[in-house]
Symmetry: C2
Subunit: 134 residues, 2 copies
């Protein structure tokens, strides 16, 4: 199991949960979400807290409680969700984490950067609306 490109578990379950919430008419609670996604209930709960804080979902407690979108699905991009959970994507310069690469040109020739931008564009171009049919 060796991945070059890897979304964290957190952002991944966050995006999946948001799609489920978008598709639902009624509140969805953490347990149901976690089960549907097949993820850890505890971990998902943590992730949801961030999304509530950043205003993408409204939560309500008590029986029949859970989460609802607080904006319409076309107003929330996957990038919004991702960055709410992970923080802003940075353009990933040198794979060695230096300001100044010890080499003249970067050995990776910008390919890492290019891949990052590609994924970022995808996340930005797609809203929950697009994902609702998935």
């Amino acid at each position: 199991m060796n991945k070059v490109v890897q979304l964290s578990e957190a952002s991944s379950i966050g995006i999946h949960a948001m799609v489920l919430i978008a598709r639902s008419e009624v509140h969805m609670n953490v347990s149901d979400l976690a089960e549907k996604i097949g993820a850890s209930r505890n971990h998902l709960a943590k992730v949801m807290q961030r999304l509530v804080k950043d205003g993408f979902v409204k939560s309500s407690r008590g029986p029949t409680g859970g989460f609802l979108l607080s904006k319409s699905p076309e107003e929330i991009t996957l990038l919004d969700i991702y960055e709410s959970i992970e923080g802003p994507i940075e353009p990933a310069a040198c794979p060695l984490d230096r300001q100044v690469c010890p080499f003249g040109k970067c050995l990776m020739g910008g390919v890492v950067n290019k891949a990052t931008i590609e994924i970022r564009e995808y996340l930005k171009a797609n809203t929950l609306k697009e994902m609702m049919g998935y």
Copy 2:
């Protein structure tokens, strides 16, 4: 510091070290390599052990010891080095690590996979020869 695409420290310093070794006429030892790259001597030593085992470099001990390429630079791709250190790159399907994504289509629409392949192609297309001038 949030990177979507991230080479591990290990593979990164491994590739950089190999370029330095390729450029050198004489043996390069771990301390010099580590200093030039600006990486941890200990970590680099570990990485070099793998590259020795997989036959990309010959090591010699004692004073004036260190590492030399055991093939010519055009015979070693960056992918060889990467996979020697990390193991084979797998095509990264669903970001949730499941055989069966709980959704109909993958929400990431293959963009993760595409980015992985792109990076892999770059690593495969470039040998140490190409990198020697960097």
